[in-house]
């Protein structure tokens, strides 16, 4: 019986008149099988895993930012000033002790048409103490934005987009009144919300056409979660300091992109 037959059919009953090398051939084939399979398995085990990962980083500021200004009209307002002991200040530059820069909107440039905004939980913008909170916010296209009035005075909520397809609107919001809901169909960076009754009140909402974005925290850190493998241009945008980009590749685990803005 030939070795191939033995290979396919298995070890036959050895009859005393079979030649010894037939058995050898059988075990040789077995060994060959294993020699092929095991390395293949080993190779497969060694191959990298293609899963989504995070893009993380830290954003810092180099140089001394201009001093923030006291919001004197707020303190002088009869309704709003009563809510404060000291005069509140602007906060364009939120910088930590080691230069960590907050309020930077980080997103993936050129990644569009991936929005999951319609099913995302709503974002919230509140008017409290005659100031918007937060002042810098990022949402997806199609994501609901709820604007609340937690103050005991009238505000008007005036959205002033500049991109066609995002309509300007100006609505009354009485104290204790119903929340106002917004969605924006087009991506737009730093879309301004303002109150014309109290002109020092404003917030900047960035609308992004994908779920891959975040806003840096007070430690300057950001995490863009669950980014599919691939090469990307990470864009970091600050309201005052402009925009920077960096190329990263999500391949084996988290990718890192650190940014340094400078005040000149």
């Amino acid at each position: 019986m030939r070795a191939r037959e033995i290979f396919h059919k298995g070890l036959p009953t050895i009859r005393p008149d079979d030649k010894i090398h037939t058995l050898f051939e059988f075990y040789k084939m077995k060994a060959l099988k294993l020699a092929v399979i095991f390395p293949l398995l080993a190779a497969l085990a060694g191959m990298p895993v293609t899963q989504a990962a995070d893009i993380v980083g830290v954003i810092t500021l180099k140089g001394t930012p201009p001093p923030e200004k006291e919001i004197t009209p707020l303190k002088e307002d009869a309704n709003c000033g009563a809510m404060y002991q000291a005069v509140p200040t602007t906060h364009f530059y939120v910088v930590g002790a080691k230069g960590e820069l907050a309020d930077v909107v980080v997103s993936l440039k050129g990644v569009t048409g991936k929005s999951t905004g319609a099913s995302a939980p709503p974002a919230v913008l509140d008017q409290k103490g005659c100031l918007y909170a937060p002042q810098i916010l990022a949402i997806q296209t199609g994501q609901k934005l709820i604007v609340k009035n937690s103050d005991a005075c009238i505000h008007n909520v005036h959205a002033t987009p500049t991109v066609a397809g995002n309509p300007e609107s100006n609505q009354v919001q009485m104290p204790g009144g119903a929340d106002l809901n917004y969605t924006f169909a087009q991506p737009e960076m730093f879309l301004r919300f303002k109150c014309d009754v109290h002109p020092w009140m404003f917030a900047w909402v960035s609308v992004i056409d994908s779920p891959y974005f975040c806003v840096s925290d007070k430690d300057g850190k950001f995490v863009i979660k669950n980014v599919p493998p691939g090469k990307y241009t990470v864009e970091a945008a600050h309201r005052k300091l402009g925009t920077q980009t960096q190329e990263v590749e999500v391949k084996d685990g988290d990718a890192t992109a650190n940014f340094t803005f400078e005040v000149k």
Binding site: K69, C153, I154, E168, D196, V197, K240, K264
Partner: protein, 352 residues
């Protein structure tokens, strides 16, 4: 001696026209405060106010920017009513046909102003704010003209213009200067409705230079270093250049008005009313230049900026009134007499 049909004046009508002009001046100031306080959109609806009938909006709710915008609307309604009364009064009591139609024109203009202001709010159009501001100035000129035409001074002028001649060259110079002032006002209105705050924070230099750097990097730096209390739009190169043109035009206007005043003194004599008015005009322009500088030095403080708007309106009006009086006064016999437009009867010319 000239033979003229004397113009009958009604002092009550005249003083009502003066009152209307004064109310319009106040309205200009309130409108200026609205823009200076960035309160133009603080009342999102029109003609109602936060859902109330405009005249029934509770005073307790006149807070923040609402105070300026709402009082502006109330005073605008009052000026509209006064203009209506004036137009009707002129229509039924004024002998001069052109004056009756001028009253109608004033009524149409004030109605158009009201609608423009309302549409600026409901359509969210800043560009309409520029038209609204400019037409406001022109309406003020019109109300002052109505007050002038109903005055005894004007009647006397028409009766005795032979002795008060203004050379055509001087008239043309003042007219051209007045038109340049109007252009400056339009420029100023355009600047204010950019809602970008001060495009240039220093004067007489601009970002430390006689002509500022408006490259992309430089402007990015200006925006990075600027900390604004109100959420103004970022500065653009266009806005910087607009302010530089405004400064240059201010200098040109100062020179033109100075020449007008000097010419008036030289050719009319220092005792002539128009010569004195030209000097007052020059003083007004000097004040306006100082106010413009103060607007920058005090970081566009609302009261300073609004005063700058009002003095600009006065400068335009003085120039316009000067022109009206000058064109009314007979030119030398060899020159064209554009008097028919004012409804004067033909003059039996005396000394040639």
């Amino acid at each position: 001696m000239s033979i003229e049909t004397p113009i009958k004046t009604n002092s009550w009508l005249h003083w009502f026209a003066v009152l209307t002009a004064a109310a319009t001046f106040l309205l200009l100031g309130l409108g200026g405060l609205v823009t200076s306080h960035e309160a133009g959109m603080s009342v999102p609806d029109w003609p109602n106010t936060y859902g109330y009938n405009m005249f029934l909006f509770p005073p307790a709710q006149w807070i923040g920017g609402i105070f300026y915008e709402h009082t502006h609307r109330l005073l605008a309604s009052a000026v509209g009513l006064m203009t209506l009364i004036l137009a009707v009064w002129l229509w039924f009591k004024e002998a001069r046909r052109w004056m009756r139609w001028l009253g109608v024109a004033a009524l149409v203009l004030v109605a158009a102003q009201g609608v423009l202001g309302g549409l600026r709010v409901t359509l969210h159009m800043d560009s309409l704010g520029v038209f609204h501001g400019t037409i406001a100035q022109l309406f003020f000129v019109l109300t002052c003209a109505l007050a002038l035409f109903t005055s005894r001074f004007w009647a006397g002028l028409m009766a005795d213009r032979q002795s008060l001649r203004v050379p055509a060259g001087l008239r043309t110079l003042v007219l051209a200067t007045t038109i340049v002032i109007l252009g400056q006002l339009v420029l100023g209105a355009t600047m204010r409705h950019q809602h970008a705050g001060l495009a240039i924070p220093d004067f007489p230099l601009a970002y430390g230079h006689w002509w500022p750097d408006t490259s992309a990097d430089a402007v990015a730096g200006y925006n990075a270093r600027r900390v604004e209390v109100n959420g103004e739009n970022p500065i653009t190169p266009f806005q910087i250049e607009l302010q530089m043109v405004h400064r240059g035009l201010a200098l040109a206007i100062f020179i033109l008005v100075a020449v007008c005043a000097w010419q008036a003194w030289q050719r009319l004599g220092r005792k002539d009313a128009l010569a004195k008015l030209a000097l007052a005009w020059l003083a007004l322009i000097l004040a306006q230049v100082a106010l413009g500088a103060a607007t920058i030095w005090y970081n566009k403080a609302a009261d300073v900026a609004t005063t700058h708007v009002l003095v600009g309106a006065l400068a335009l009006t003085v120039g316009a009134m000067w022109c009206l009086v000058a064109f009314c006064r007979a030119a030398p016999s060899t020159e064209v007499r554009p008097l028919a437009v004012f409804g004067a009867q033909p003059v039996m010319a005396a000394n040639k």
